[in-house]
């Protein structure tokens, strides 16, 4: 039952992440059990650990020529069983030295820097300061070309006298997508909602439009992760005589997929 639930959640997530891929592969989830993925140990021996980390003890060792069935993966570890049904966790690095049924070395792709350049979607969480007040924010971006992307972001600014919520859309341009440290420029606009604290006199929430422009940097870390730093300048269009301005910086971790 749990297995079924797990698989349905997986299926749901996958279909959300990439509808195209799901259309081709969805049926594979249901036949995964019947399809045994096997590799043969090619090095003198391979260690089985009790859990998926270097810190867990080695509980068994399989020798050269033995066949192992791949069961499931957690981070950089694969749960395997040998011909006698013994279970354990083998590191992906060790698995890359084994052979599959065709006699070739097993290839398991890892998300790498190359994928960082060709990604389509990115999403991340960021924290920083908006006019010297703490800001938490999250965003989702879609790359239309290697240089140009569209982003949607939400922010919460937590001040002493008010809470500000922002929703904005932006266009982002990165001139050098092939760089590991890739600078970008962004311009956009949206809505800003200022909620005065309830502990003060009850004042109505105010909603204004705003526009912003900024610069930033993406730094690829590893796997499917990168660090993103950005500085934005905001102009809030108010009903007062002059518009308000604010500067914001934020730093966060993002994933691409």
């Amino acid at each position: 039952m749990i297995k079924l639930l797990q698989r349905s959640i997986c299926l749901l997530l996958f279909s959300m992440l990439s509808l195209e891929a799901a259309a081709d592969d969805w049926w594979k989830f249901w036949v995964a059990d019947s399809n045994t993925q096997q590799v043969r140990v090619a090095e003198p021996f391979i260690d089985f650990r009790s859990g998926p980390a270097q810190g867990f003890p080695v509980i068994h060792t399989s020798e050269k020529g033995e066949w192992l069935t791949l069961l499931k993966r957690k981070t950089d570890w694969m749960k395997v069983s040998d011909a006698k049904g013994r279970l354990g966790w083998v590191s992906i690095d060790d698995l890359l030295l084994t052979e599959d049924a065709t006699g070739d070395t097993v290839s398991i792709t890892e998300p790498r820097f190359d994928d960082f350049r060709t990604r389509r979607w990115e999403s991340g969480l960021q924290m920083g300061e908006f006019d010297s007040t703490a800001v938490n924010s999250g965003y989702l971006g879609y790359w239309m070309t290697a240089n140009l992307s569209a982003e949607l972001s939400v922010s919460q600014i937590l001040g002493n006298s008010s809470e500000i919520q922002m929703l904005s859309a932006a266009l982002v341009h990165q001139p050098f997508p092939q760089w590991r440290f890739s600078p970008f420029f962004r311009i956009g606009g949206g809505q800003i909602k200022i909620k005065p604290k309830a502990t003060l006199l009850s004042v109505d929430n105010s909603i204004n439009s705003m526009a912003h422009a900024g610069i930033g940097m993406r730094c690829y870390v590893s796997d499917r992760f990168f660090v993103r730093l950005e500085v934005n300048d905001y102009k809030v269009f108010t009903n007062e005589e002059s518009n308000e301005e604010a500067t914001e910086w934020k730093l966060g971790l993002s994933v691409f997929f």
Binding site: Q6, L70, K72, K74, T75, D100, M127, A198, T199, L253
Partner: protein, 214 residues
């Protein structure tokens, strides 16, 4: 003449060699199954963890209350993970409200304590725990992780929404590959001015939870 002889001989030899190689190419029995390469898309990956937790949180000046919430984690590597938490509790009465009797500092709505945070975790001590069955005498081994966690988010309490930092530690026991039990101890810090001047509020959370890997 010997030249011709040698030529004819090498011609027959070449034919023989060709026949032999043709025989090698065609096996006696054609295998029904072609050997398959490993297809990693067929292997289940379990890097996400979804869970619920419940426990006690001490809300500074407002007693200790029952806390419950949900937690999602994504394991980046064997050591590092990202976690997002949502928690709910309700603030009790301050000592002043209790002693003075008919005084209410906060409305019921403002007493609701809600927080969210995003955190970075590090499995500092992976290990094993052993449990001896009370009757059978069998010993069971469970994988465990002792982890440190720190992050930030916001706390909505007393009509105020404040930036909140969080730090703590937890102990995770993996019942099997997809089910884990947690006990965590976390400290939530934020500045608040509900009792007049602004001060740092320290809120200690002690909770236990259950999570599923998928």
């Amino acid at each position: 003449m010997p030249h011709l002889c040698r030529g004819v001989l090498s011609f027959f030899l070449a034919i023989g060699a060709m026949a032999a190689s043709a025989e090698e190419v065609k096996p006696l029995i054609e295998p029904d199954v072609r050997p398959q390469k490993v297809d990693e898309s067929l292997i289940d990956t379990e890097n996400f963890e979804l869970g619920v937790f419940g426990g006690v949180i001490n809300i500074e000046d407002f007693e200790s209350s029952m806390l419950y919430g949900v937690r999602v984690a994504y394991h980046l590597t064997e050591s590092f993970f990202l976690e997002a938490n949502l928690g709910l509790a309700e603030g009790g009465e301050t000592s002043f409200e209790k002693l003075a009797g008919n005084v209410e500092l906060l409305s019921d709505e403002d007493r609701e304590y809600r927080f969210y945070n995003v955190a970075f975790g590090y499995n500092i001590l992976p290990g094993e725990a052993f449990l001896k069955g009370p009757f059978s005498g069998d010993t069971y081994a469970f994988n465990t992780n002792f982890y440190l966690i720190g992050g930030a988010g916001a706390t909505d309490f007393a009509g105020d929404n404040r930036f909140t930092a969080m730090a703590g530690a937890g102990y995770q026991v993996l019942v099997n590959d997809w089910l884990a039990m947690h006990v965590t101890f976390r400290e939530h810090f934020y500045d608040i001015d509900v009792l007049g001047e602004t001060k740092t509020s320290m809120n200690t959370e002690l909770s236990t939870g259950l999570s599923f890997f998928f």
